[in-house]
Symmetry: C3
């Protein structure tokens, strides 16, 4: 499906962000991921359980059930399931049918997220999750605040397109990020490798953006450099470094850096999960910039602009019966590379023969 090949949706043998760690508690929640209903909860030891979300008996959604110790009880007929998918109780009979069990999904917690593997569990190697250190996500010098979540009625590739092309910032975010010099119109330098793309672009000399003046205790000329990292098929981290610029000598002295963090996970063919957070490597005292920044009206409005772009383009696709003629620009290089990378991951799975 657009903008992928006909019949292509999303690669399954990869780690996807399923939820903020803080979202998974002793109250089960359901999330539709790559078309599957998955129920999440924590067992009493704090581990995350991820199970098929629909009871195999009669199809009732398990997330509406309660936890009995480490088991989830189907609210319809009281069947209980362990975190390993085994059914431990069918109240109306003594023997549990052998087929009565739930598919389990490999999960792990990294950074502030619960990651899930939607494909073949035997291939679910946690080592396949990059350490994301290069992008500073796991650098202890950065203090990060996550928690933004959007349920987006638009296909996931539209969100990747958006994140892989920051030239939209001065326009789509005219009234938010775009107004403070947050964006730059230029063809970024694009590099890529196996399952990753990186884009770099710089603003050599701009006035320090208003929202940073107070926090950096600096006003005046700055240079700003963005390095964005896309870890296919899910994560984007943008390292946004600000340096004080001596107008006379041209010397740049680092003031600090922000991290703009986004994860995108397919829900259904036409809807997506969007997780967003912010980080910083300076002013590690209260008030936390990244937390204040993340929850600021400006950032919320900017995120809603990004979400609305996906929603609006999804509507255009519907109006044009599932296809969308498009003209690609030089600045779309990274986005096009991203689509090809995702398509490649899908095609790999189609042709894969298990060893």
């Amino acid at each position: 499906m657009y903008p992928l090949e006909t019949g292509s949706f999303a690669p399954r043998n990869h780690w996807y962000v399923a939820a903020w760690s803080s979202e998974i508690t002793r109250s089960p929640i359901e999330r539709i991921l790559l078309g599957d209903s998955v129920v999440f909860f924590r067992t009493t030891d704090g581990a995350v359980a991820a199970l098929a979300g629909i009871c195999p008996h009669r199809g009732f959604p398990l997330a509406k059930g309660e936890l009995i110790a480490d088991e989830i009880e189907c609210p319809y007929h009281g069947l209980r399931f362990r975190a390993d998918g085994a059914c431990t109780l069918v109240p109306s009979q003594k023997v549990v049918p052998g087929a009565c069990r739930l598919r389990t999904y490999p999960v792990t917690e990294r950074w502030q997220w619960v990651w899930i593997w939607m494909g073949d569990p035997e291939l679910a190697d946690e080592a396949l999750i990059p350490d994301h250190f290069e992008a500073k996500l796991t650098d202890p010098e950065f203090r990060c605040a996550g928690g933004n979540y959007f349920d987006v009625p638009g296909r996931y590739v539209l969100l990747h397109d958006n994140l892989l092309d920051l030239n939209h910032v001065p326009f789509l975010h005219k009234g938010t990020f775009g107004g403070d010099g947050g964006g730059a119109i230029q063809i970024p330098e694009v590099t890529s490798g196996e399952n990753w793309i990186s884009c770099t672009f710089t603003q050599p000399a701009i006035d320090c953006p208003p929202f940073l003046v107070e926090l950096l205790s600096y006003s005046g000329l700055v240079s700003r450099k963005y390095v964005s990292y896309f870890y296919a098929p899910c994560l984007h981290v943008i390292l946004d470094s600000i340096s004080a610029l001596d107008a006379e000598t041209g010397e740049a002295k680092p003031l600090g850096a922000l991290l703009h963090i986004h994860a995108v996970t397919p829900a259904t063919e036409r809807s997506s999960h969007y997780f967003q957070g912010e980080g910083q490597n300076f002013s590690h005292t209260e008030p936390c910039l990244s937390k204040a920044f993340r929850s600021s009206e400006m950032v919320k409005a900017a995120l809603e602009e990004d979400v609305s772009a996906a929603i609006e383009i999804e509507k255009s696709i519907e109006l044009t019966n599932g296809t969308l003629p498009e003209i690609l620009l030089l600045a779309d290089k990274a986005a096009v590379l991203g689509r090809r990378m995702i398509q490649g991951l899908i095609n790999q799975e189609k042709t894969a023969v298990r060893g």
Copy 2:
């Protein structure tokens, strides 16, 4: 369609509950039944008229029209139709075209309901409606109060599944019926015949449920016996008998019985009509238990739990593209029998040759 065979919806040559008798008045109402729009009203002699609900001239829904004596007037161009389907007036011309008439549906009133025959009118024999005496519905010793109605966005077989398997009571109705000992986890004794299924199960010794203590003027040990009757393809009556139990002698002395009454009629392929009432054979003085019971917050909440089960499972079916893998338990014997019975009625019609 699930859980029936592909292409199967509902048998037509049967009597279905179309409405509470009290719903049909001099103000026409439309109800979609087995995919057909039907308009209902009472003629001046009190008889129920059931006609195709869409004007044959231009497709306007007749239920938005007014009655002129015993005729319904199409609100668009004023065509008038008698209860026998004949068009008596086309205001703009003198001659009524021969083809301008409405299909009529055989109807009859039994108990507190209007029943309708959606199939071949020549086969519509009122004697095919069981007398329901065995289930006490028509036993004059029982005083009944109907009137609950739900328009359910879920396929009708899901409601039958629910009613044919009372093992859901302690779980789905945990906070309502289930809390007062109203349910029992056990494999019922199932008997069946042509177009009917009966399930029996007993609670040999429980404390009298709180809501009955006052009305039965009894507190203490009781035995409770449920006998449910399914009259395919529409009606369920559950006879719920309570006896005082002498703990020492084991002697059981009848205190009274309740009737839980449910009718299920297909609307469209994915929606249903659900009619519910309550009856009792004791305390035939005001306040009427069954009426108070029927309209109590507890019963309403319990019914909404049943309705929500159908809605939630319908969503699961949609998520899994119209099929729903399921594991059948011993306790599903009656539900499976019910599905087979309905499928059998459909198949009969497919192969039937009119005599």
Copy 3:
């Protein structure tokens, strides 16, 4: 599609009303017309621009963008387009790709409307718009007030059916127009020519309708004559002339005439745009009858009755899977002629070979 032939939607090589002139300003608006998204705005010289509404780069709806002088800026990446469809700026690169341009639609302003040509632009001859003088729309003796607009979730032919058959007035508008003698049940005299249909019917002697008594400064017997004009495929004008009638001599003396003005333009296959206004040739002083009349609660309620007829019949079509059996009456002559005329225009285009 009903009531046209399978696969037929709407003729494209015709002028359609796209908007009230007053709707098109310096704030762009989007309107879906014959399935296409079109963005409208006025350039600084006041001319109307009508362009494909979806950016050819990434599919963002342009109507959410801003005008920069005479160009519309895509709110996503800042591409700018002139009213002639040319892309003048791609902010991220120096060269504008040749294919990066917007389809333009011929438009013209006539009476109080913006008209659009959705087909082959080379065939867009403004002379094809009738002068509508016969129907008094452009007669300077008539003072008109437009502005009513309805976005109707029903196919456009249903609105034409409605307007070509005024026998619905006494019934559908029982509580509005119908109550004041506004309608007459009769088979109108129908004449037609190339792309037009006219219906005439008269009320020889009725009491002056209450809402006219004050404005015509007359109470008593009147004769009323309706002449309706349908200019296929879009416009209906109904000339409604009232004459004082001398009961003794039978002499009729003109008191004045009203114009009831309606334009219908297909949006999608199952939705339509409906534009409505009123005119008069008397009392050309404030308060303007036609303006007061147009915005009166009675007229609004009557229009909503017409709109609701289209909506209700659209629902009937959906219930009967896209077809709708119907019986045609003598009074449907004009409506049937209208459908045939529209079907003929569609068929003409299918077989047309460009000269």
